[in-house]
């Protein structure tokens, strides 16, 4: 009720701001996120074990794993 009365009786700047927020949210969550920002792990691996194996491989691969035993 507070929102309804306060919002509709306020001046045009609030409409603009409200519109900007709505457009931005739609743009971000309906266009940008699904089209350009898929979650890499969720998209490429369908089980936790596969995600785990991939990450273990990623994180244990180095340029040179040889240990210098000087």
């Amino acid at each position: 009720m507070i929102f309804k009365k306060g919002f509709w009786k306020n001046s045009t700047i609030w409409y603009k701001l409200f519109l900007i927020i709505c457009i931005k949210m739609i743009f971000m969550f309906i266009l940008i996120k699904p089209l350009f920002f898929p979650n890499f792990m969720k998209t490429n691996f369908n089980s936790r074990d596969k995600k785990n194996s991939f990450m273990i491989k990623e994180i244990t691969t180095t340029e040179d794993n040889k240990i210098d035993d000087k």
Partner: protein
Amino acid sequence: MDFLMIDWARAQFAMTIFIHFLFVPITLGMTVLVAIMESIYHKTGKEEWKNATKFWQLLLAINFAIGLATGIIHEFEFGTNWSNYSWVMGDVFGAPLAIEGIFAFFMEASFGVVSIFGWKRVSKKFHLFSTWMLALGTNLSGFWIIVANAFMQHPTGYKLNIETARAEMTSFSEVALQPKAIDTFLHQMSSAYLLGATFMITIAAYYLLRKRDVVFAKRSMAVAIPFALINAYFLFLVGDMQTATVTQMQPTKIAATEGLFEGKEGAPIIVGILNPNKKPGDGQTAVWGIPFPNMLSLLGKHSMNAFVPGIKDLIDGNNKYGILPASELMRRGKIAINAMNDYHKAKESKNEALMAENKKIFEEYSKYFGYGHLQKPEDVIPPIGVTFYTFHIMVGLGSFFMIFFVILYVRLMKGKIADGKLWLKISLFTLLMAYIATFAGWGMAEVGRQPWTVFGLLPTIKSATPIHVTNVQMTFFMFLILLGTLTFAEVKMILKQIKLGPNKSEH
């Protein structure tokens, strides 16, 4: 790993966080300033104060609405561009970011609506309470972001799990209340308050120079100047606290920040410029300028003659002070990495004895894990030029504010704030200077953290997702256009309201 992809992913993160952070400090600072103004209205009952509160609240609301959700972009980036980082850090990051979300979406949204639209709908007391709750909500949500960032600067209260390669939180209080988080939060909040105050001072100075809305401008100055002055000095105090924690927790950052090539007992702070011809090993310092003897030891270790390690000590080690050479840290890191790898091979072959043996080795060396990914000892040092200059720009502007706001405060007390064009003209630039200082400070904090995303645990080169660079390039330009447009819209809308002024604006 595709280095070009990492460069673009870093550039994208830097660009989006830069634009996001244009909005954040104004919101943090202005919510408190608006609450103070409304408190004055509540106490005095004078309509001028109500009018002033509503005008500043309108500018705050424009900033809040345009900036809203620009931070969510970073969570998109974590999942797509930085999936390795998200995997390793997810368990630690989940709690503070979830709490931040609760504050942002429930506390700020609920009380924000009452504060903006409820002027004639709720009692004066409840309205004031809502305005203060909005300020508290924005500041508390900032705290949880700082907690997450502090973990990246100084990971603590966690254990790296050999089974999952994930950092798992072992102590929430250790993560949330570590000195790095508290110091950074206090420093960040006071710098945001100072920036919020300069937002007010700049606009009020514009009105005073134009000789319009003079009473409103004077009232705004009367609130903003003491607030800026208090925060300028508080920043200095917490900056001192931060120097001590950084010296202790991130010695590579402090060495780069001060251009200290060789460690020294009674290390100085030198105000000047970097000597581009010097390299680590060429002598104690790379800075040309005015030395302040023993200052770095005093600020960093709270002892005039304490030893502060230099870049050379951190690369080559220093037996006398128990500093391990970077090559040894790398060797230990590789032992941890190989132990993790061998543990999983043993698990596949169901060799439990070998699993137990590798787990034991891993637990002994896991704190060096990240060093195993570095390619050469020199990699432990962050880019010296950027770290050095951003820090000195921040300190230089901070020192300027400490002097300038004393002058403004004296003029305010003498009733001369509306006179003296020179001071008002300088005041016009305080917002720009506060932004430069804030971004320089963050630049130093984040570039100085390199080569790590999580200090000592996960290097930046291992944090990115193995995806094609084109994806990141495309979204980089998309965000540049989107966020650039939003910023342009904000500036245009705020300028329009400033031109209309407190009596004609649409509040």
